[in-house]
């Protein structure tokens, strides 16, 4: 009777009919998924190369003003040239460094500030209106203040990036601190743990995923701060290249810098997202 639903295979394993049906269902599902995935990729490539191709043709036939809009072969030509001359990478490096500093410092300072506010409910109530004002304010507007206070250069660019990221980090992380299930706190308190123990053992680890995801948001915000900062003071960096290209009316340079920014910012975001995945997988 068992023969009809299960047959013994040559290697001694017993194969059940249910297993076979499950394997077939999985195969059908995977095939359908692969097929729809292939369609999505095709559409994406079509949009990418279609628009680049159209842009190239429009540029070469002078349908658009080449002085302003340039066209892809000119842009990539310039990039390639600068890469070979070694004049591109130093700019990329400076901007990447500033952005890294901006979002790491922003996340760190924001978390520290949130910890201080969590620690003292009194301070939380006192600082509340100031934080609301600072949060509503467009932080890049503080750029000129940083320049006169810190001096034109790396410092004020990083300060701008920091200003953009730190307040929102504080708010998000503090909210996450407050929303930790009180019962976890109770567990520590029942063992006689004090506020520091509660913070170290419950509040911080429970908010870790939030802090990591703030890191991801801050990558984007930090780019805003850094590029604006470079617009204002820099003598190197991708933001500087854009402003320089604009001033000498070399829009091929502007567009190629934008292209590099898009590329590097995406890579950086993906790196943080990958790290987030690794860190939060166990949770």
């Amino acid at each position: 009777m068992t023969e009809s639903i299960a047959k013994k295979q040559e290697d001694g394993r017993v194969e059940r009919a249910g297993d076979r049906i499950a394997a077939e269902a999985l195969a059908v599902y995977m095939r359908a998924r692969r097929r729809s995935g292939a369609w999505v990729l095709t559409a994406q490539l079509l949009i990418l190369f279609g628009s680049i191709g159209l842009w190239e043709i429009a540029g070469r036939h002078k349908w658009i003003d080449v002085l302003i809009f340039s066209y892809p072969s000119k842009v990539f030509g310039l990039l390639w040239e600068n890469l070979l001359e070694g004049t591109l990478l130093p700019h990329v490096w400076v901007t990447v460094l500033e952005t890294l500093c901006g979002f790491l410092l922003g996340t760190l300072c924001g978390t520290l500030l949130a910890a201080v506010i969590w620690w003292s409910p009194f301070l939380a109530r006192v600082l509340d209106p100031f934080i609301v004002v600072l949060n509503s304010m467009p932080k890049v507007a503080l750029g000129p203040i940083f320049i006169v206070a810190i001096g034109p250069g790396l410092g004020s660019i990083i300060a701008t990036a920091l200003a953009v990221t730190v307040i929102i980090t504080t708010l998000v992380v503090y909210t996450s601190f407050k929303e930790v299930d009180a019962n976890y706190v109770k567990v520590v308190r029942l063992f006689g743990g004090n506020r520091l123990t509660v913070f170290r053992r419950v509040i911080l680890p429970a908010s870790f995923p939030t802090i990591i995801s703030t890191l991801k948001v801050n990558v984007g915000l930090s780019w805003v701060g850094v590029i604006v900062g470079e617009f204002l003071v820099a003598r190197e960096g991708l933001g500087y290249l854009i402003i320089y290209g604009f001033q000498v009316f070399n829009f091929t340079l502007v567009i190629s810098s934008l292209f590099v920014i898009a590329l590097v910012a995406t890579l950086m975001y993906q790196a943080v997202a990958y790290m987030e995945g690794k860190l939060s997988r166990r949770l």
């Binding site: 019962n183 976890y184 029942l190 006689g192 053992r201």
Partner: protein, 260 residues
């Protein structure tokens, strides 16, 4: 007579911006060493408040608590507390979770570590030390939480509906396990529950609370042989249903008084 837990004329008021709320009034309670006492009553009768006061988590507005004759001033290692759910830290392993209490009270030693390993074996959790709580079933998690509590060798165990979030089968198994462990260690226990049959099956004495404010209405001694039977057998014994109806009636009257 010396009590393991003694609550002396305890009254507690919760004060918020909305006003003052009298939660429990004039609670007097003595629990003998090794005794298992259950608190039952309608929701809002202050069961959890009483437990939190005995645990040292909240300072009562008036009155006091003595544990083995000593005045209680805050959480004590002699009193263990089991919450309604396991509340194992999901970000760390079972091992780190069960060691939490020992680490916080700085009692990690070869001896205590060996004791935790022994508890894990007893609870059928050996070999799961490196798992994360999410990888365990509800019953296993509650057992791990029990290990975390027992690791400190408390003399008194407070159980705040620790079986309420479990499915029925797991709940029955865990009742047996907990009672067995408590009896073997001659520990004193106070259980808060909504489940009347659980209260009768596990306890030596059941205390019925009324509400608004919470106060003790009645105490029922559980007679032999239900008292010394294990929970599962106890439910089969002839007197069990009589006791159940008696308690049920008492609770109905509590509700009735509220409406008047």
């Amino acid at each position: 007579m010396s009590y393991a837990v003694e609550v002396l004329n305890m009254t507690h008021v919760y004060v918020t911006e909305q006003g003052a709320m009298l939660a429990v009034e004039d609670i007097r309670l003595g629990v003998r060493p090794g005794e298992f006492v259950s608190l039952v009553g309608p929701s809002g009768c202050g069961k959890t408040t009483i437990l939190s006061v005995i645990a040292g988590l909240i300072q009562p507005t008036s009155g006091s608590v003595r544990i083995q004759g000593q005045m209680l001033s805050g959480p004590s290692a002699r009193v263990g507390y089991m919450l309604q759910q396991d509340y194992l830290f999901p970000w760390t392993t079972i091992w780190n979770n069960v060691m939490t209490g020992l680490e916080i009270t700085r009692q990690v030693s070869d001896e205590t570590t060996a004791y935790v390993r022994q508890l894990l074996r007893q609870m059928g959790l050996a070999g799961l030390e490196d798992r994360y709580p999410t990888q365990l079933s509800g019953g296993m998690r509650q057992r791990a939480a029990l290990v975390r509590t027992l690791a400190l060798k408390p003399d008194v165990l407070l159980l705040d509906e620790p079986f309420s979030a479990l499915d029925y089968q797991t709940k029955l198994t865990l009742e047996e396990l907990v009672l067995d462990t408590l009896r073997a260690g001659r520990k004193t226990a106070i259980l808060v529950t909504h489940d009347l049959s659980e209260a009768i099956a596990m306890s030596d004495r059941v205390i019925v609370l009324g509400r608004n404010p919470g106060r003790i209405r009645r105490e029922i001694e559980i007679p032999e042989p239900i008292r010394s039977a294990m929970p599962l057998e106890a439910r089969e014994l002839p007197d069990f249903h009589r006791l159940f109806r008696e308690l049920w009636q008492e609770l109905l009257e509590t509700e009735g008084e509220d409406e008047r």
